[in-house]
Symmetry: C2
Subunit: 453 residues, 2 copies
């Protein structure tokens, strides 16, 4: 792995004023060299989102042996991934990821680091388990131009596949598209992409009181590119850059690892519920468990799994003590207004509360949201795909435009899982179960919005 | 010199499909690191233009001990170089250049290589001299925001300073301007400049029968940048890219070293002339000596030193056997038409003749010239400053816009030298001598044109 070596070995090169640059050499050469050897995409178990580890600890403590299936779904059906990502290469990458173990230095970092101001966020028994962990087996077949990639087994194991599986698919797709380009075409491609990211950062700089993090691991163009984007955000935004969801980059670049939690928790909790009454409680059970495990800025709820409106309406009063709400599938202005109204209705001062926006953000939407809400509540942005994978228009035929690919929980203990969200375009699950969930959660009619990324 | 090492050591890195990329790492890191140590600009005596060596051999054979003074002149007076290039740094760089000797490998390359199809272009006695050569002393003072940098001594020694002195001043200026930028600002600066060069190359690709070379050593942004531009030209243009004037890059990158000859030859020959009759012959004496030393594609005359029109009118018939004409200070369309008319008037077929355009070229002018002359004669382009130093507008206040800085011969054996050229803005010499030369050469009135670069 000479490229990764070159990238990281020089981090504090003697005589340099500061850390090494993630470079166009690394980017273009690495892409250029992909044709003749395996160049592993996942080289560390920490090359995942921080919230996977947070969720894993909660799962480890309560439901580690629940039998949970995850599956890849490409919502951009028109992009036939299986046509240009070779199945052999895909298997090679997945198999390589299965060989990776937590290194001693990585374990030390997780055990010793301060996250969100808290030391020893991960308990000794969880760390012991993580040190012995390897990604479990997978099932793979190609069907109608798409890969059907599923992970079946104990929740604590299958949950760990989500981010690496997505990162592998996205990076193999990039490599496939770039394979035909010459050395300098590649350099200029990256030059243009770098210029684009930097121009976005220059626009973001102008936003007062900005607080933004990189959430782009799963849909990134590639690991080195994400690393470059993080460093660019740090240099360009200074204190306004909160950190990255990627644990490996956070460790190596010494920035904050940040994250909240995801739909899989309420989806599995709900699937495990024995009856409708338990189902109605399940999303709140998630939050109750979560606040036992974590505190402070990690108390950010994700209310949209079965519709935000019903979730907030039926929320127990103790939830008003939570720091914030993540707005992920509703129109951001509408979702933010709903949060403010809810806090106000429960006697909270929205100025002390935090809304985290994370759905399909780009600079334009961030500017709009900021213009609308700045000064009315605390705001954070989790910027994903269009930070770490905006190569739109840089090769012909939209070949590098990002696709909306997800790895979602499908079933738990033999029961199908359901997600409704605030955007019907994102609904998941069998129709009869969706109907049951809608009834239980009082989910009303919602306007469908196009899924951006 | 770890950066240069990194650049060249990897040229044929194991496992790579082809040579290494001159990289944004090298470029941005090298610029970024300039603040704390000396980073030599001239690291090889071959980091000069090929025509300096060709001219040096002619000088070595006939006028090696003529006492010749060269001086730096910044025609862009509004750019006060001495205000942002530290005199200590300048001395360090000039002094370092004086320590450089021809290496064994460099000597082998000059002795063994084929230039323009000819082996052993450089004679054994010249090579013996060159192996022992070091750049001579210099005189430096700052005056009114400009550096007065002069080289005084035997012509064969002082002639060798022209290109390294200009390259040092131009690169120190770039470094001074870039010093205040952050790591990523630098990367994005280079990303934008790379994109710009590549877009120019993409336009040039469309020109039928193009033949173009890099002439950008003296005014380059920096050595690594020139190297990148040469590689980009090679990848982008293929056979249409003839080679580079820079011997070091030609050697390391295995491209052709190309060049013709320059005004210093007729200027010194003319200054050495004992009377007006000898003066009138001097420019033709240069060509007579030159064709004894070189043949074929190297027989490209530079007719404009004292006005092209008079030069061609009085040319002896043997000059019609020469391959071509370099058009350097006249409007290129006018100059090309004049060449065609001259060849026709002397019974030559212009289709077999070569015109080399080399004055302030950029893609737009190349396109115009090509549209006008393609198919009427052979055409070559020597693309200089706006290939290797087009950072216009990439930092505020035109800070990186190229400047028109030259290193010209001032005196020979105590007599002032004179250059008139086809553009009065480029005239050099004392007024009374200019008047005498105009009389001797029958130089008429000419329209002044702005000097671009």
């Amino acid at each position: 792995m000479p490229e990764a070596h070159a990238l990281f070995a020089g981090e504090r090169a003697p005589g340099s004023r500061a850390g090494s640059l993630p470079t166009m050499l690394d980017l273009a050469t690495r892409v250029y060299n992909h044709n003749f050897k395996i160049d592993p995409i996942i080289r560390s178990l920490l090359d995942t989102d921080f919230y996977k580890l947070l969720m894993a600890q909660t799962i480890f403590r309560r439901h580690r042996d629940a039998d949970v299936t995850f599956g890849i779904q490409n919502r951009s059906r028109s992009v036939r991934i299986a046509d240009f990502v070779d199945v052999g290469e895909l298997r090679e990458q997945l198999d390589h990821a299965r060989t990776v173990r937590l290194s001693r230095g990585e374990s030390t970092w997780l055990r010793g680091n301060t996250f969100y101001g808290n030391r020893q966020m991960f308990s000794a028994d969880f760390m012991d388990w993580l040190e012995g962990f390897r990604l479990p087996d997978y099932e793979l077949e190609a069907r109608d131009g798409q890969y059907v990639l599923t992970f079946h087994g104990p929740w604590i194991e299958t949950t760990m596949w989500e981010v690496p599986a997505l990162a592998i698919l996205n990076e193999l797709r990039s490599r496939g598209i770039l394979r035909g380009l010459g050395k300098f075409e590649l350099q200029v491609l990256y030059a243009r992409a770098m210029t684009r990211v930097w121009e976005k950062i220059e626009r973001l700089k102008r936003l007062p009181g900005l607080s933004i993090a990189d959430f782009g691991t799963r849909r990134r163009h590639g690991f080195l590119w994400q690393d470059w984007c993080v460093e660019a955000m740090r240099e360009g935004l200074g204190e306004a850059f909160l950190g990255t969801s990627n644990c490996l980059i956070a460790m190596r670049r010494e920035v904050e690892a940040v994250g909240t939690n995801a739909h899989e928790l309420p989806m599995v909790y709900s699937a495990l519920a024995e009856d409708d009454a338990a189902l109605a409680q399940a999303p709140y059970d998630v939050l109750r468990d979560w606040q036992q495990d974590y505190a402070g800025n990690l108390l950010v709820m994700l209310p949209d799994t079965y519709g935000t409106t019903g979730f907030l309406a039926h929320a127990p009063d103790w939830m008003t003590a939570w720091t914030g709400i993540r707005i992920d599938s509703k129109d951001p202005i509408e979702g933010g207004e709903e949060a403010i109204a809810w806090w106000a209705s429960r006697g909270c001062d929205p100025h002390e509360k935090l809304a985290i926006f994370s759905d399909g953000l780009d600079v334009g939407t961030i500017e709009e949201i900021h213009a609308h809400f700045h000064g009315r509540m605390r705001i954070g942005y989790g910027w994903g795909t269009l930070l770490t994978n905006d190569f739109r228009g840089l090769v012909p035929d939209h070949g590098l435009d990002p696709i909306s690919i997800v790895c979602k929980v499908i079933a738990a203990n033999g029961r199908p899982t359901v997600k409704i969200s605030d955007n019907p375009s994102k609904a998941i699950g069998p129709a009869d179960e969706i109907a049951r969930y809608k009834r239980v959660f009082g989910t009303g009619e919602m306007a469908a919005m196009p899924v951006i990324v």
